[in-house]
């Protein structure tokens, strides 16, 4: 299927990780299956972290294995370190999303490492993939630059610092970069500065954007990144992912709203928006305490709305 942009579901990881209630494995798989059936081509299905840290991902192996059976779906998982990556290699996951923070303080709080130590860990993951036996399936390895658009400890993060760590990840073997607005500080002007700087260091590998809508700027930031040439966007169904320490703060940009925005701009996402909206039912049934955000689910589509037809701008 021809797509102008790729929307990647991260709700199963980013959306669920801060939610206190365990989502039963069968429901996670219903969610993944329904989104894949709606045309979502890539899903970050879990995180390979110690169960005692994040019990939500106790079923990481089962979720990964079952997701890998869905034809055509790219199955990704977040990994904070080599140990997590090794689990991914054993499971045969398609893509490892490694994350480090550009902010030294945030990196230390988040993974208890200096940034240099995180980079060394990333290199070790790249080496572990290289050492897989000939003929073995190799996962793609992506480098994530958390706090690239601002940090709740350090405030503004200098753009040259973002560029420097982007270059370091590329040099170390990243096949894709992910630039997240981890705490929802971005604005469209900053997005353009940061993404242009990162794209200049990317050496042609894809650069993806991961926005949180904490301060209402999420979709405006998406459009700003799009104008820089970015075509891969993380989002979560119903905008799950509110930070547990900021009640009411919204999480990732809403998948359905991002899909609507892009399609209405003439950009093909490959996703059937009406089927996508239907998937919200699974969340509502399974996790009744999880707040479901989203404007399109609430307001409905405009009269005469038609998805993009391939004559994209």
């Amino acid at each position: 299927m021809d797509r102008d942009v790729i929307l990647r579901e991260v709700g199963l990881r980013d959306g669920l990780q801060g939610h206190g209630q365990f989502m039963p494995t069968a429901d996670k798989l219903r969610w993944i299956g329904a989104e894949a059936a709606a045309g979502v081509s890539e899903i970050e299905v879990t995180s390979y972290v110690p169960v005692k840290l994040l019990p939500q991902f106790a079923d990481a192996a089962e979720v990964t294995t079952q997701s890998l059976r869905i034809p055509g779906l790219a199955v990704a998982a977040l990994v904070p370190n080599l140990k997590g990556a090794q689990r991914g290699l054993e499971l045969g996951v398609h893509k490892l999303n490694f994350v480090m923070s550009v902010s030294a303080t945030h990196n230390m709080k988040n993974v208890r490492r200096t940034r240099e130590e995180s980079l060394a860990e990333f290199r070790a993951i790249v080496a572990a993939i290289a050492e897989l036996p000939a003929g073995a399936a190799r996962p793609a390895i992506c480098g994530g630059l958390a706090t690239a658009l601002g940090c709740s400890y350090e405030g503004a993060v200098p753009v040259p610092e973002v560029a420097r760590w982007a270059a370091a990840l590329v040099e170390a073997g990243a096949q894709e970069l992910i630039v997240p607005d981890t705490v929802g500080y971005a604005n469209p002007r900053l997005v353009k500065e940061v993404f242009r700087a990162v794209l200049a260091e990317a050496g042609g590998i894809p650069v993806a954007a991961h926005f949180h809508d904490t301060r209402g700027t999420g979709l405006a930031n998406l459009v700003a990144a799009l104008e820089c040439g970015v075509t891969r966007f993380d989002a979560s169904l119903a905008g799950t992912g509110g930070c547990p320490f900021a009640p009411g703060a919204s999480g990732n940009i809403v998948m359905e709203d991002a899909c609507y925005l892009l399609e209405s701009m003439g950009l093909r996402t490959g996703v059937d928006l009406e089927k996508l909206v239907e998937v919200r039912r699974i969340l509502a049934e399974t996790l009744p305490d999880l707040p479901l955000e989203g404007a399109i689910a609430r307001a409905g589509l405009p009269r005469g709305y038609a998805p993009a037809q391939g004559a994209a701008a």
Copy 2:
């Protein structure tokens, strides 16, 4: 005060017109006074319409008269016809915002006139202003093009139609144009098409944007209009203005969030964001049933946030 962009409060008109409960006049005036004190330079304070149609505006004369006493505040009011405009002339309001719809169907449903009849009414208002005695204060007369970005009866509205009616209002004497996304159908690509077309017909008079956030695209649309050179934006405190026939649908773009977005992009609004957020209390106290939207009020400002300093892009 130097401003790069002008945010205009329309909540007292657009926000309240669909709300069933009358907001006491004293509270409206507290709201207006507090926003003016926060630096908001222009407020659409009421609508000159028959009381039996919109009892919310039964106090239009009192609200106008008292608002006009606030130093430095531009006091605007919506007028659907000559009769309403004549009330504005009597009261000495600074600005008359006349509205007609580009969609013939919407215009008929909204004001029971053909578009040609609305244009004739607009000409009559311009003539009435011209006939004011020499030396009398003359209000500015603005032409609003409702449904310019889509219509809930007709669906997509052809851009050449928008341009045609923009040109007609300019030729008839409009001193400013207002382009509203009446039903929240706009996307950034369409915004750029429509605003470029309208700006091409505007002959140098200001063109303002009025977005609803019904489908989550409000701030993205604002940025798109900004990129076309638009610097006047309508918004409402706490995003009031949800359509009474679409429960939960949000109304105008949220004033506080628009202020945050613009200031964080380095554009001076002249508005003190923290004081603006405080004004929400007046709404909460007075109209407890009115849903208060807004990300900044919920999430707070980023660490290290500073308003724009005058080195705007």
